[in-house]
């Protein structure tokens, strides 16, 4: 054979399927030999032409042969599936659950963690946060922003302050969330408006910023998406603002991804170069930076570090030791909090899919026994083992393909449910079954088919043909039994890991809900009111307004208490301020004592159901001209007055000329900044006596809490009416019960817990089905053996115990493996757990016991069937 013919044969072997080659390879080689001989005798050109035609012919026809075989295999697979509808339905349902769960969670991961942020080159953008020994991330003050902007060479700096404005001049006044930004904010983010322009630098000057940018949704709502919105005027806080631009539809401010009430309008931030030194401590600005070309984030951070060291030198006493500022990459800022939870869920659904694969593999192995004769006959008439393995794998692909379609439908429902259950998770609303997700689904399906199909395929390749044809029933091999038992053990182990994880999260969530929040949520209506600057620049008019409003609301039928605070617990965060006691002189870095501070009106504590431990609460008589008073919480009393009664003692907040305040009352601790965050020292300052820490920061926006004897939402309309009696252009917003406030605060934890519980339940059901299925099949195989045993005198009880022991062995092995695996893996849940150790022994034991009970239940039915075998019938069947 010449080298050319050998090459030709090698190509045929490489390209064509085996079935074709068995029939035609030799003949093709003989034909090519004759062609090659003739071409060689003609010349090199003829030989080259022959090779060209041969190669193109092979390349053109080989794929068609493969496709023809695939069509054959798919048609055969479909026939087999139709012949066993029960098996097919169970397999598809099992796989669809695993594939669907993976698709749903991946679509969440894709939307939240993978999809690019809607900004230009977001990897060059970072948040700039101050950090203090007591606070890892804190905003910048106006003087700090101006200093950073002036001195930093490696980055462009922009800032944002949150706020709200009242929109008037329409049928109903409306309160809109607003963001105040520097003129270069959108350049730093890398966002262009779809209409008009963003802000000019001159509009940062005081009095020059009567312009507004609309978000896309507001533009649609207020102007029906008309292009002539540009140049129109809106009345915001009783001032006219000109619309200059509209932002893109998919635009979101970095801190508002997942926000329930994102900013509706964007206004220029007034930069005040003459900002006083006192305002260096007012840290309210969210600052973003874009690293300039030619610089790296590391260089930028080094530059920031140099400037913060200069701050300390230039402003003695202003900065604590340990103060600094850090650049945090934007993506991590937006989704960092949810990354661990999403990755845990992705791991969980992977386990569910593996369990589903093991289940289907077991079903296929059992069915392989039933198909043994068919396989043997096909082998006898010429089908090679490779061909049969290919057939089995194709059947697996068809099964996986149909399951994938069902899984995508399931995923679609799951994603809708997830979006509803946790509306506050950043970017979760962008979840969709897009091409990336579908490609992931396809990849998972193929992998699934290979995983669950390979075991039956390997089993098939090893089958002894003669045994099947001659014996009339397939011989039971202990190896096959061992494999099936191992699969059951694997399923049980994986299910146990998931169940323990779900149990830990459920415990954590329950503990979170039962943590003493410090206030009573039942029957309390809350809403927010924000007064405009015009007419309310000073404290007194604001105090009078809220006094009158609260008096009218208290007069409503069913109202038992009403009060207001600058921000509600779990809805806003409160910051700390340092204070000192009589006789103490603040050091160069201020006082060592600090407390979270809150501004309240009379009636607030009563309406929130906060417990008064000692003394009294503020009343209307604690006015601006009366002696200054303050209420503290129990944590402050224990920390700073351990040996004496705080009532009657005095404290003074740091900075400027502030009055000494007499402590009049001690209340229980309130978990304001999160249920999982223990309350630290807190001070409650009566609004009528509150001296702002920074100038021009009169507190005008308050959250009002109204305690009722019945359904709190029933008085919402009446409460709105009482506010409008005082100012008909004043809207109320964020109307909800206090129960809803808590609900929203724990929504992410609830979603994690519900999802993991759902997946764990699915895993438990699959593992139970797997255990039942394998044992039921083994009972069928051993019918003769039971018949013989009973004929020889074995009692039903003996058979029952024997079968249960056999069925429970893999389950027990799985539980032991699962306990060990869970002990390692549940540590990954640590960041998601509240007051629950990841290796809580009681949880492990209780969950393992439950799973064993479920396995026992799954074994009982087949075991009872074994005891009902009629010995005479069983022996005759042979």
């Amino acid at each position: 054979m010449s080298r050319q013919v050998r090459l030709f044969r090698a190509m045929v072997r490489a390209l064509f399927p085996e079935e074709f080659r068995v029939d035609y390879e030799s003949e093709m080689a003989r034909t090519f030999t004759a062609q090659e001989r003739e071409a060689r005798s003609t010349g090199a050109r003829a030989l080259a032409r022959l090779w060209w035609e041969t190669l193109t012919g092979l390349v053109r026809t080989a794929p068609r042969e493969h496709m023809a075989q695939l069509r054959q295999d798919v048609a055969y697979a479909a026939r087999m599936m139709r012949r066993t509808p029960g098996f097919t339905a169970v397999a598809i349902l099992t796989l669809a659950t695993g594939i669907g769960a993976n698709t749903a969670i991946f679509s969440a991961v894709n939307a939240v963690l993978v999809r690019p942020l809607p900004y230009s080159h977001p990897d060059r953008v970072a948040m700039l946060w101050n950090h203090w020994p007591s606070s890892a991330k804190s905003g910048l003050s106006m003087p700090e922003l101006l200093d950073f902007r002036e001195r930093l060479r490696s980055v462009d700096v922009a800032a944002l302050a949150g706020g709200a404005v009242n929109l008037a001049g329409r049928a109903e006044p409306e309160r809109l969330h607003a963001a105040y930004v520097t003129a270069n904010y959108f350049d730093v983010l890398g966002v262009r408006p779809v209409l008009g322009r963003t802000f000019a630098a001159r509009e940062e000057a005081r009095g020059e910023g009567r312009v507004v940018l609309l978000t896309y949704a507001v533009w649609q709502r207020l102007f029906d998406g008309r292009r002539d919105a540009i140049g129109q005027r809106l009345m915001l806080d009783k001032e006219g603002y000109t619309v200059v631009g509209v932002l893109p539809q998919d635009f979101e401010l970095p801190h508002e991804f997942g926000a329930l009430e994102p900013s509706a309008v964007i206004l220029p931030l007034t930069l005040d170069p003459a900002a006083s030194r006192a305002e260096r401590g007012s840290h309210y600005l969210r600052t973003i930076v874009r690293v300039r070309d030619g610089y790296s984030p590391t260089q930028a951070q080094a530059e920031v570090d140099g400037i913060t060291r200069a701050f300390d030198r230039e402003n003695p006493g202003e900065y604590d030791p340990g103060y600094g500022a850090t650049l945090w990459p934007l993506r991590g800022e937006i989704v960092g909090d949810v990354r661990p939870a999403l990755l845990v869920l992705l791991g969980a659904v992977t386990l569910v899919l593996l369990i589903a694969c093991a289940n289907v593999a077991n079903l296929l192995l059992a069915r392989g026994r039933v198909r043994a004769r068919e396989i043997a006959v096909r082998k006898a008439i010429g089908a090679s083992p490779a061909r049969l393995v290919r057939q089995v794998l194709t059947e697996g692909l068809v099964l996986a393909g149909i399951s994938a379609l069902a899984g995508v439908a399931l995923a679609s429902s799951l994603t809708s449910l997830m979006a509803q259950l946790a509306p506050g998770i950043p970017r979760l609303s962008e979840m969709s079954i897009d091409w990336t997700v579908l490609a992931f689904t396809a990849g998972v399906s193929i992998l699934t088919a290979v995983v669950f199909g390979s075991l039956p395929a390997a089993d098939l390749a090893r089958r002894d043909i003669s045994g099947h044809l001659a014996a009339g029933r397939g011989a039971r091999t202990s190896m096959r039994q061992a494999v099936r038992g191992a699969l059951v053990a694997a399923q049980v182990a994986l299910a146990l890991v998931l169940l323990i994880g779900a149990a830990l999260l459920a415990q954590s969530f329950t503990r979170l809900l039962h943590v003493p929040s410090g206030f009573r949520t039942a029957n309390v209506l809350t809403f927010r009111v924000s007064l405009p600057v015009e007419g309310f620049a000073e404290r007194e008019p604001v105090v009078r307004f809220y006094e009158e409003a609260l008096a009218r609301i208290r007069a409503l039928p069913g109202v038992t208490a009403a009060g207001a605070a600058a921000g509600l617990p779990l809805q806003t965060e409160i910051g700390d301020w340092d204070f000192y006691l009589p006789g103490e002189t603040p050091g160069p870095h201020g006082s060592d004592r600090a407390a979270d501070w809150q501004v309240i009106t009379p009636g607030y504590m009563e309406s929130m159901g906060v417990r008064l431990l000692r003394g009294r609460l503020p009343t209307e008589s604690d006015r601006g001209d009366a002696p200054a008073v303050v209420v503290i919480n129990d944590a402050l009393a224990r920390a700073y007055f351990p040996a004496r009664d705080p009532i009657g003692q005095q404290i003074r907040m740091s900075g400027g000329e502030r009055p000494w305040m007499t402590i009049i009352g001690i209340v229980g601790d309130i978990r304001h900044n999160g249920l999982a965050t223990p309350a630290g020292p807190q001070v409650f300052l009566p609004h009528a006596q509150f001296v702002p820490f920074w100038k021009d920061t009169t507190v005008r926006a308050f959250s009002i809490a109204v305690r009722t004897s019945g359904d709190p939402l029933a008085i919402a309309s009446a409460a709105r009416g009482r506010i409008r009696e005082l100012d008909r252009d004043l809207p109320i917003s964020q109307v909800m019960t206090l129960d809803d406030v808590v609900d929203r605060a724990v929504a992410p934890q609830r979603l994690q817990m519900l999802l993991l519980t759902f997946f764990a339940t699915v895993a438990l059901v699959l593992a139970a089905i797997g255990t039942y299925g394998v044992l039921a099949y083994q009972i069928t195989e051993r019918t003769r053996e039971f018949g013989v045993r009973m004929a020889l005198g074995a009692r039903s009880g003996d058979i029952l115990r024997m079968v249960l022991r056999q069925g429970m062995m893999p389950a027990i092995a799985g539980v032991l493996i699962g306990l060990g695996s869970a002990a390692l893996l549940t540590r990954l849940l640590s960041s998601l757990l509240f007051e629950t150790p990841p290796t809580d022994a009681a949880t492990f034991a209780a969950t393992a016991a439950s799973l064993l009970a479920a396995a026992l239940l799954a074994c009982v039915m087949p075991a009872r069937r074994a005891t009902r075998v009629d010995p005479s019938l069983a022996l005759r069947a042979e």
Binding site: Y24, R30, T31, F32, A34, L58, A62
Partner: protein, 122 residues
């Protein structure tokens, strides 16, 4: 004879290569190389079959019952190696005829529209 119940229409139209292979087998049994040579000669080299193309067609025609595989025997005109011979079945003949009629009809339509030169008269 083709069975009365056999309908060649589902097999049409044939590609040029498919038609030429059937025609090549119309006048007797041939092995694969002989088919390649005959097609090359009959079409003046316009249809050139490679081994891969030919045997893919043969497999399909055998599967569809249009050609029948005969026994192997040596070809003394070649290297005397044993080769597999094929012949046209009645159904295959019907398909080839149907294709020829289809092409004749198409040529007729073209001539009717004056799209082709009229055949030269003697």
């Amino acid at each position: 004879m083709a069975r009365r119940s056999f309908d060649p229409q589902p097999y049409l139209p044939l590609t040029p290569a498919m038609f030429q292979v059937l025609v090549a087998l119309a006048d007797g049994e041939k092995h694969g190389y002989a088919v390649i040579k005959e097609v090359h000669r009959r079409t003046d080299g316009k249809v050139r079959l490679s081994a891969g193309t030919l045997y893919a067609l043969i497999k399909r025609f055998v599967s569809d019952g249009l050609i029948v595989e005969c026994d192997e025997r040596p070809d003394p005109s070649l290297d005397d190696e044993r080769r597999r011979y094929y012949r046209l079945s009645d159904n295959g003949r019907a398909v080839a005829l149907a294709e020829a009629e289809r092409m004749e009809e198409a040529v007729g339509h073209a001539r009717a529209k004056l799209l082709t030169r009229k055949p030269r008269t003697a």
